[in-house]
Amino acid sequence: MKRILVVDDEENIRMLYQEELQEEGYEVTAASNGNEALDILAKAEPFDLVTLDIRMPGMDGINTVRAIKEKYQGLAVVLVTAYGEYKQDFSTWASDAYIVKSADLTELKATIKRIIG
């Protein structure tokens, strides 16, 4: 079973993603900010994909992508955010995909499926 780490500071969003993605057949773990995510990645079993919110207290999504890509080259990262304009930010280019947050999770699910199957 593919493993996904959901990183978002909003508890409701974490819960939504967790439930929806589990139903899609993934094993889902959640973290509420960048630091927590890096801790989990370091301690737990390897993950296949991370979904990252950008604006979070503590370490934000952009810095987290950079940190993840330095340590875990093969790990896919999908940025999911309300901030449309980050699409033009060079720092986000390191991620594998960029999705604008929406209640309709079709795009997110399709993207994940495309990357890790």
Binding site: E10, N12, L16, E85, A103, L105
Partner: protein, 623 residues
């Protein structure tokens, strides 16, 4: 005998001392002289101020009067010869006259005795006294002395009259100038001012020229531009106009106001022609020289044809005319051209002097008016810039605020809608499913709104490629074909095939056109016509493609016009007010421009202008 002579002289002196200014005393004098010398004819001729022509001033009762004796040039015939020689000429008996003497006589067949005496004071000749009779006679020295003495008395009389005429003329000039200056002060509008000036030059109690044309110097383009012409188009019109204005003797302002009310001046053919005149400042034409040399010209002879530009002579039929500079603060601001093409009255130096005096005053008034319109223009420009600045600042501030709000709302909205979707799945088969459906739908609507706001607030890059605008418009229209049909909107496409491809983001432009077309269609609730045109514009060396979108939906209420590009401004019940703001932003992002031509009650036209090429560096910077 001597006593009688003295009596006559005293009577004449008495007449000379009580001037009537009607010329009656001169007739009385002529009667006395003819009686004194026992001749049938006595005439007094007065010299004009230019010392060229002698005109008949008075003739004795019963003396011969005829057209041929009313005017003599100096030097010609007996009267003219007397004036040029300044001495008495006597021909006692025509039968003894020499050939030279006979040559002076135009009335040789009628009379035998002729004598004429110059009317002079110390230096100036004022006229000629003439006597003749059928019967021959000879003047004694005493007679000659008397004739000379009488002539000198008449000289004081004619001089007195000349001063009087001069004084009257000056007084009249002053009153005309006063009236003109009062009239020019009533307005700062250039058109009206020029009209007043030219009317003053042409009306009966003004400067009395037949036609007047005013030209202004354009220093930027180095040309002299015709501004206005006043005068009748034909001799028939001329008689009518002169009759009207001199009979009525209305004030200048009254005439001008009446003409403006009747719409007379702009309709004159002369005025139309005058406006088309453009003369290079460096031309050899008299009119250009008037400006360069800052002096007036009186072109009196028709053979100086080459001194006037062909444009002027052909358009205006100018041959004999005068050209006077309009001066203001030591500079020539324009030229007034005048002529008397209808009554052929020669333009005298006196006319030029008065016209120059008038032109100086008119020049000042024109300069004031030009300065005023300059200031006014600058003021309007400033205001426009200020408004635009305000608009863009307002947009920026609103955009930023909207973006922040949108971000804060997006997260809760995601969970709200996300869980509603989960409910939807769990409630399959339950009646409560439709509550979840409502939540999902409403969240979708809110998210769409947020997307719009985010487009507005961010500097979207987009991908610029070369596209054909006609195709982009066509594909947008294709999506709207259903709506056009149901709303009964007729579509007219007026595409120019010569429109080149432009560098643009086709998706963004599609959104631009979609917004504009949708607005137009929605404005035509009861059907109408949507006209879409494309064309090529070149402005200041930059080429644009222009797209015009015209509807027949009644236009936009005037008080809304200034707001239509503001975010959240809407007149629709269900609108977000973001459509036109986004359109504006996307067009601006293409370095283009969008403007509205509003025709309240009829419809509205939006014009989008997009530059064909983007500067390389600009695209780089944005990507």
């Amino acid at each position: 005998m001597i006593e009688r002579n003295l009596k006559t002289l005293l009577k004449i002196i008495h007449l000379a001392n009580s001037p009537s200014y009607s010329g009656a005393e001169f007739k009385e004098m002529a009667n006395l002289i003819s009686e004194e010398f026992g001749v049938e004819n006595c005439r007094i001729y007065a010299m004009d101020t230019n010392c060229i022509t002698l005109s008949l001033k008075a003739i004795n009762d019963g003396g011969y009067s005829g057209e041929e004796i009313s005017r003599y040039r100096i030097g010609s015939w007996l009267v003219g010869a007397t004036a040029s020689k300044k001495e008495i000429i006597e021909i006692g008996d025509i039968s003894n006259a020499t050939i030279e003497e006979l040559a002076l006589l135009d009335e040789a067949d009628r009379y035998s005795f002729f004598a004429s005496s110059p009317i002079v004071d110390d230096k100036t000749i004022y006229g000629v006294l003439y006597i003749s009779s059928e019967r021959p006679r000879s003047l004694s020295d005493k007679d000659k002395e008397l004739l000379y003495a009488i002539s000198q008395v008449i000289a004081t009389s004619l001089r007195e009259e000349r001063f009087h005429t001069e004084a009257q003329k000056v007084a009249r000039e002053f009153s005309i100038l006063y009236e003109i200056s009062t009239a020019t002060m009533t307005t700062i509008k250039l058109d009206r001012l020029l009209h007043i000036i030219l009317t003053a030059v042409t009306v009966g109690d003004g400067l009395e020229f037949n036609r007047a044309i005013l030209l202004l110097v354009n220093e930027r383009s180095n040309i002299i531009q015709g501004m206005m012409g006043v005068g009748p188009d034909s001799i028939e019109d001329a008689w009518k106009a002169w009759g009207e204005f001199s009979i009525n003797r209305r004030g200048l302002l009254e005439i001008v106001s009446a003409q403006i009310k009747e719409g007379k001046v702009p309709s004159s053919r002369l005025n139309e022609i005058a406006k088309t005149i453009r003369l290079p400042l460096d031309s050899s034409c008299i009119v250009a020289r008037t400006v360069r040399e800052q002096r007036s010209f009186n072109v009196a002879t028709e053979d100086e044809g080459q001194t006037i530009s062909r444009e002027l002579s052909e358009k205006l039929g100018l041959s004999t005319f005068a050209s006077v500079p309009l001066m203001a603060s030591g500079k020539v601001v324009g030229v007034i051209i005048v002529d008397n093409c209808f009554n052929k009255r020669p333009i005298t130096d006196e006319d030029i002097r008065f016209l120059t005096m008038f032109a100086n005053q008119a020049g000042l008034a024109i300069e004031n008016s030009l300065l005023y319109s300059d200031i006014n223009e600058a003021h309007l420009e400033l205001k426009e810039t200020h408004d635009r600045l305000l608009q863009s600042e307002k947009l920026a501030a609103l955009g930023e605020m909207a973006a922040n709000v949108a971000h804060e709302i997006r997260n809760p909205l995601t969970s709200l809608g996300g869980f509603a979707r989960r409910l939807l799945k769990k409630l399959e088969g339950h009646t409560e499913k439709r509550y979840a459906e409502i939540i999902v739908k409403e969240v979708e609507r809110l998210e769409a709104l947020l997307t719009d706001i985010l487009v507005l607030s961010r500097k979207s890059a987009g991908s610029f490629k070369s596209h054909n605008l006609n195709k982009i418009i066509d594909s947008t229209l294709h999506q709207l074909s259903g709506e056009l049909k149901t709303k009964q909107v007729e579509l007219i496409k007026d595409f120019s095939e010569s429109v080149p491809n432009i560098d643009c983001d086709s998706q963004q432009l599609k959104q631009v056109f979609m917004n504009l077309f949708t607005n137009s269609i929605q404005a035509m609730q009861d059907g109408g016509t949507l006209t879409i045109g494309t064309y090529l514009i070149t402005e200041a060396e930059t080429s644009y493609v222009g797209i015009s979108i015209t509807d027949t939906g009644g236009g936009i209420p005037e008080n809304y016009v200034s707001n239509i590009f503001n975010p959240f401004f809407t007149t629709k019940d269900t609108g977000t007010g973001l459509g036109l703001s986004i359109t504006h932003k996307l067009v601006a992002h293409h370095r283009g421009d969008i403007e509205l031509i509003n025709r309240p009650g009829e419809g509205a036209t939006f014009i989008v202008k997009l530059p064909i090429r983007h500067e390389e560096s600009e695209i780089q910077e944005e990507l």
